[in-house]
């Protein structure tokens, strides 16, 4: 990356450069300040949060708020902390991301390499699903889940997220595979590989960059989703986001801000982690189709 940016960067004078850095640093601070506030206040005792300066660093360092948010805080009526809901989210997110990504890859493969009549219409309809507002489908979806016996369960949530994510994952893989030479598929056909073997042995091994894009996109969307979680989950399948909301709303008497801050960071941690680990592949994958490197 650095090599490429050196090649393409326009040379600028010192003053311009300094100004650019200043503006960039200001923006970075602008985004970092809320995180700093959350982090520093989650590490203070409650008295220091309510009594002191919000921007100050902790005088007494403590991780009690974190422990409370994780395992003992009141969520609704139960004093369980966020732990079980964190697990719920994982149980929902992992299969939902995996299934929607694999199906998206298969769709993209079929739509580009095994063209059939009206394939573009099918693709158009799939794309259309990206633009349907969540609110519209809440009631029909609740009814469908009821009929299928999946209401209020983690598999039900997985299904909803897979269906909703399919449009995006298909779009990603279709565009990626469109640039993949069809001659390779033909060569594999002559070599005697069938539909799934070509997918598995030829297409998937070179799909890394776009798979990362799909996984990050699906992971953040599904992990951060609140509406579906609040609408379709019951206590046993409630995801992290809904639980966090309950944590903040259900404290009686004093608001334990330090616990809330810790809980919010806990809820944001997995997506943060995914970005840190795979973020640079994300940019690379988004660029992959457009520029040949």
């Amino acid at each position: 990356m650095s090599v490429a940016s050196q090649d393409t960067a326009v040379r600028t004078g010192g003053f311009v450069r300094a100004t650019i850095y200043l503006v960039l640093i200001m923006f970075a601070l602008f985004y970092l300040v809320p995180f700093y506030v959350m982090l520093s206040n989650s590490l203070k005792p409650l008295a220091e949060v309510t009594g002191g300066n919000m921007m100050a660093i902790p005088q007494t360092w403590t991780i009690d708020a974190w422990l409370a948010a994780w395992s003992t805080a009141q969520i609704g009526v139960e004093p369980t902390g966020l732990k079980p809901y964190f697990l719920n989210s994982i149980l929902m997110v992992v299969p939902a991301v995996a299934i929607s990504t694999i199906l998206g890859a298969l769709n993209g493969y079929v739509l580009t390499k095994w063209r059939f009549r009206f394939d573009n219409i099918v693709f158009g309809l799939l794309l259309f699903s990206c633009f349907i507002p969540f609110q519209i489908i809440l009631i029909p979806m609740a009814r469908m889940l009821g009929i299928m016996g999946l209401a209020g369960s983690t598999p039900g949530l997985v299904l909803v997220h897979v269906v909703y994510g399919l449009g995006f994952t298909t779009l990603y893989f279709r565009n990626y595979y469109a640039a993949f030479p069809t001659e390779l598929v033909r060569a594999a056909q002559i070599d005697g590989a069938g539909f799934f073997r070509i997918f598995w042995r030829i297409m998937l091994p070179v799909s890394g960059p776009i798979a990362v894009v799909s996984i990050i996109w699906q992971f953040t969307n599904i992990w951060n989703d609140f509406l579906f979680g609040a609408s379709f989950a019951d206590v046993d399948s409630m995801p992290m986001t809904v639980a966090l909301n309950n944590l903040v709303n259900s404290s009686t008497g004093v608001k334990e801000y330090n616990v809330h801050f810790a809980g919010a960071i806990l809820a944001a941690l997995p997506t943060l982690l995914v970005y840190i680990v795979a973020g640079r592949y994300f940019v690379r994958g988004l660029m992959a189709g457009s520029v040949k490197g």
Binding site: P181, E183, L184, R186, A187, A188, Q189, I190, D191, G192, A193, R197, R201, I202, P205, V206
Partner: protein, 370 residues
């Protein structure tokens, strides 16, 4: 019945027919080249032989078996693609043996076949590399290795050399020819390069607009092109096509043309097969190498005619000198010896080998048969 029979085959996409009633019969061991300009349907025909495109109507049979509807992997063919189509995630060795693996050949046999092919093509040292780490010529070899290892009935090549630089293309061309002489497998080879077609083939099918314009040996195609398209497409520089009037004088037929001064000059045809064209316009076709100076004329030629004309441009090109002039208002190119003494604007005595001249009907552009 040939070894590979293409009988009355057409191909249509929706309502547009891109190949019309193609009939080609290829004998075992032949090297058939499909040649023609871009978009004429060469790849489409090849892909139908391979089973990658459906046959709209007609029948293709390989080694006595009708293969319409047979899956590509069961036709016992192997194909080399223009882009080589090497699997980027596999090593060279895996690329070569993938087809055998798919056909359930056990590993020891696969390795043996791979070693044989690798030494034949001299790519032993590349077997562990990925295609991305190979040069163009090496990729080309690997692609051929992948085809060879299958030991197929028919090899199909789709412009295999068009991605190579000029020098390498000539080398690989020779190598393909050697390989064919050694293995004697039937080959169908697509190219838009007429030199490749002439040098490699035992027979050529010249295609244009979805029609096979002419099917014949390189010699037939070059000396007796079926129509103006074939005449100008095959050969470089292209055959000169000059409007001429037929004049019958006694037993002899003459082509009357205008030199650059507008004066009429007559060239006698070898035989008088143009009796019924007396007084009518034809198109006279003369290859550049059939126009020389008097001394450079082919000693074995039966009928050399002389024509005085003003020299246009001379272009020395190493082994030959190309000379342009105007005849009947058309630019005409002559290919002469390198050491010919000739100067622009000079009136020059051109020798024309009429043994090699052909005549075309100006309306249909078909060759007038002797």
């Amino acid at each position: 019945m040939g070894f590979l029979d293409i009988a009355n085959v057409t191909k249509a996409y929706g309502n547009t027919e891109v190949l019309h009633r193609v009939d080609i019969s290829v004998q075992e061991g032949e090297f058939l080249v499909l040649v023609g300009p871009s978009g004429c349907g060469k790849s489409t025909l090849l892909n139908m032989i391979a089973g990658l495109e459906e046959i709209t109507s007609g029948e293709i049979s390989i080694n006595g078996r009708v293969v319409n509807g047979v899956h590509p992997s069961r036709r016992n063919i192997a194909m080399v693609f223009q882009s080589y189509a090497l699997y980027p995630n596999m090593t060279v060795g895996q690329n070569i043996t993938f087809g055998l693996e798919m056909h359930g050949v056990p590993k020891p046999e696969r390795d043996k076949a791979m070693a044989d092919v690798a030494s034949l093509l001299q790519i032993d040292h590349l077997l562990d590399r990925k295609p991305g780490q190979l040069s163009g010529g090496q990729r080309q070899r690997v692609a051929m290795g992948r085809a060879l290892v299958r030991n197929p009935d028919v090899f199909l090549f789709d412009e295999p050399l068009s991605n190579l630089d000029a020098k390498l293309r000539v080398d690989m061309r020779t190598e393909i020819k050697k390989l064919h002489q050694k293995l004697k497998t039937t080959v169908v080879y697509v190219t838009h390069d007429q030199i490749e077609a002439l040098t490699l083939s035992t027979r050529i099918a010249v295609m244009y607009n979805g029609y096979v314009q002419q099917l014949g040996t390189p010699q037939e195609i070059y000396d007796t092109p079926a129509n103006v398209f074939v005449a100008t497409f095959m050969g470089s520089p292209a055959m000169n096509i000059v409007p001429a009037k037929v004049v019958i004088n006694g037993d002899d037929a003459y082509a009357e043309i205008e030199d650059s001064n507008g004066a009429k000059q007559q060239l006698k045809f070898n035989t008088n097969y143009l009796q019924e064209w007396n007084g009518k316009e034809i198109l006279l076709g003369i290859r550049p190498e059939a126009i020389t100076d008097s001394e450079g004329a082919d000693r074995n030629a039966a009928n050399v005619q002389h024509l005085t004309n003003t020299v246009g441009v001379t272009e020395p090109a190493g082994s030959d000198t190309f000379v342009t002039m105007t005849l009947s208002g058309k630019d005409v190119i002559a290919r002469m010896r390198a050491d010919v003494s000739i100067a622009p604007e000079q009136r020059f005595d051109f020798a024309i080998n009429m043994d090699k001249a052909v005549a075309f009907d100006p309306k249909s552009e078909e060759r007038i048969q002797p």
